[in-house]
């Protein structure tokens, strides 16, 4: 009996320590970046252009570029993802085609982001001749986040109670009418959560845009075919390839904070929306 107690105490101590270590890792990362970078953040940093060969000034063009890329990604991936989810939830008879689609979605989610980058380079940049541009980058990222959107939308649609559907069909609605008037409105907030998560993911990814969209230095883009600066790529280049990487540390920390803040804020919104949904659901 005592031995069992001791084993349990030791095991629980390990579990608690493991949890603490995970939190510690998160805390350390956030603390260092916030503590060292806070000083670099100013209104000017956010709204002005880089000066003196990137060693001074702000990161405004990178913010703009990341914004365009993320929005472009959503424009391509959201309609596609929602429609795919609708098919899987509302139409799909359990069969070979659906199994294959599901397998493709799962595998797509596991494909390394650099492979998307290679693909984007070969397909969008070269073959379609879109060049290194917002368009190429957005399309590449759209493919990357598609599984995220499909899964979140699927989950949202599945959470819509079956009675809603039966109710609509019993009133003589066609399947499409039922989807458009009953299922989609009820599932919309959940779908939005997925979209927000995808937005954060698109804003934070670096590897897929290195060859398809991002450049180290650019003016503000004037068309979807312009290359852009982007926050993650800017941070990467400044931290590793710039000659003055030691002198520009404050800019790097500042960029890291802005990127982190942007992505985490999006994530927080998604988490809050979802938590509210789960709590406020009346069905």
């Amino acid at each position: 009996m005592r031995l069992r107690r001791l084993t349990q105490a030791a095991a629980f101590a390990f579990l608690t320590l493991a949890m603490a270590a995970v939190l510690l890792a998160l805390g350390t990362i956030l603390y260092y970046i916030l503590a060292r970078g806070a000083g670099a953040i100013s209104w000017e940093f956010l709204t002005s252009f880089p000066r003196r060969g990137m060693t001074a000034g702000g990161i405004f063009p990178a913010i703009v570029g990341t914004f365009y890329l993320a929005v472009g990604t959503l424009i391509f991936s959201l309609p596609l993802g929602i429609c795919a989810a609708i098919y899987l939830v509302e139409y799909a008879p359990q069969g070979r085609a659906v199994r294959l689609i599901r397998m493709a979605v799962n595998n797509l989610a596991g494909v390394p982001s650099i492979v998307f980058g290679l693909f984007g380079l070969a397909f969008f940049v070269r073959l379609l001749g879109l060049g290194v541009s917002i368009l190429s980058g957005s399309l590449t990222l759209a493919f990357l986040v598609l599984p995220t959107i499909i899964r979140a939308s699927e989950e949202a649609l599945r959470a819509v109670p079956q009675e809603f559907r039966e109710g609509a069909l019993a009133l003589g609605a066609t399947r499409w009418q039922m989807i458009r008037r009953v299922v989609l409105p009820a599932g919309l907030p959940g779908v939005l959560t997925g979209a927000i998560l995808a937005l954060g993911r698109a804003a934070g990814e670096t590897a897929p845009i290195i060859f398809t969209a991002a450049v180290f230095s650019a003016r503000l883009p004037n068309s979807p075919l312009s290359p852009v600066m982007a926050l993650p790529y800017h941070l990467f280049v400044m931290a590793t390839e710039s000659i003055f990487y030691e002198e520009t540390r404050p800019i790097q920390y500042g960029t890291a904070i802005v990127l982190l803040g942007l992505v985490l804020a999006l994530d927080l919104v998604a988490i809050l929306v979802r938590a509210r949904l789960r709590r406020g659901r009346r069905w």
Partner: protein
């Protein structure tokens, strides 16, 4: 009515097309990887690629040996798992079984934050904090080593492992727990002998997908692994993983050159690795779903 039926059918067709896009994308990716990667073997032996021990794309003649890069990837992934598996599973069990109900959602949200941090930020953190620390702690000339990469990859694999394993544990029917406790098992015995075995397929899937996350990660390893294309023997050496090699070299490779094709060939290897990992995970999940639990 006939018009309506026709309309319904075409709407359905559109949705099917959207759903099938995933398959098309996957096929397109394969097509382009193979289309740009296979031409390498017109001029360069397949065996020399697969078993080659040297990666020297700018040497004369160039050498495109996969082994140092592949082993570099596997090495840092292995190191990451050494860290992430015990910590991740421990934390998952803590959240699922020990955490007070009020704390559970908060802990899960914090783990999600870990998943949301962009990889370039992890890389940056590793570069300015972990690399100098490794350098000083082990008295190395340079801190960019497999160890540095493994440490940060381990943290990056944690959220995958914690969330999926926690899901699997929470999914174990409450009846199992009640029955074990009612038989006089301690809480730990219940966890270890009933809950964990019942969730084992989900837990294995979590570990495998965590490995997939680590092996496919690009930016962090590009920034802190040291990028030396040598077959790894120790964690204190620099290594050059597959992903980082592609990211570092595509910009310099001349389009259509053997080097360019070789980088796509690396992409094929990476793609097949991730495909294998996902199929394994899927197989595990489906195999155990057959058990009536």
């Amino acid at each position: 009515m006939i018009r309506q039926a026709w309309r319904e059918r075409s709407i359905r067709g559109l949705f099917f097309l959207a759903a099938a896009t995933s398959i098309i994308i996957l096929l397109l990716i394969m097509l382009f990887l193979f289309g740009e990667g296979l031409p390498l073997f017109r001029a360069y032996g397949l065996w020399d690629f697969l078993a080659g021990q040297f990666w020297a794309p700018t040497a004369e003649p160039p050498r495109f040996g996969l082994l140092p890069l592949l082993l570099g990837s596997l090495w840092v992934t292995f190191g990451a798992l050494l860290l992430a598996v015990p910590l991740g599973l421990g934390a998952a069990i803590y959240i699922a079984e020990l955490a007070p109900a009020g704390l559970r959602e908060l802990l899960k949200a914090l783990v999600e934050v870990l998943a949301a941090i962009p990889s370039v930020v992890y890389g940056f953190f590793a570069l300015v904090i972990i690399v100098p620390w490794v350098k000083a702690s082990f008295h190395l000339p340079i801190g960019k080593t497999a160890l540095s990469a493994s440490l940060v990859l381990g943290v990056m694999a944690l959220p995958t492992i914690v969330s999926l394993a926690e899901d699997a544990l929470t999914g174990v029917p409450r009846g199992f727990r009640e029955a074990a406790l009612a038989l006089g098992a301690t809480k730990w015995q219940t966890i270890w002998r009933v809950t964990v075995p019942a969730a084992l397929s989900g837990i294995s899937t979590a570990v495998i997908l965590g490995a997939g996350r680590a092996i496919g990660e690009t930016m962090t390893v590009l920034m802190v692994s040291g990028m030396a294309p040598i077959i790894p023997h120790s964690f204190l050496q620099p290594v050059r993983p597959l992903t980082a090699t592609i990211a570092a070299e595509v910009g310099e490779a001349v389009w259509g050159s053997p080097h360019y094709h070789a980088l796509f060939a690396l992409g094929i290897v990476l793609f097949l690795l991730s495909l294998g990992i996902n199929l394994l995970a899927e197989w595990l999940t489906s195999r155990y779903r057959g058990v009536k639990v």
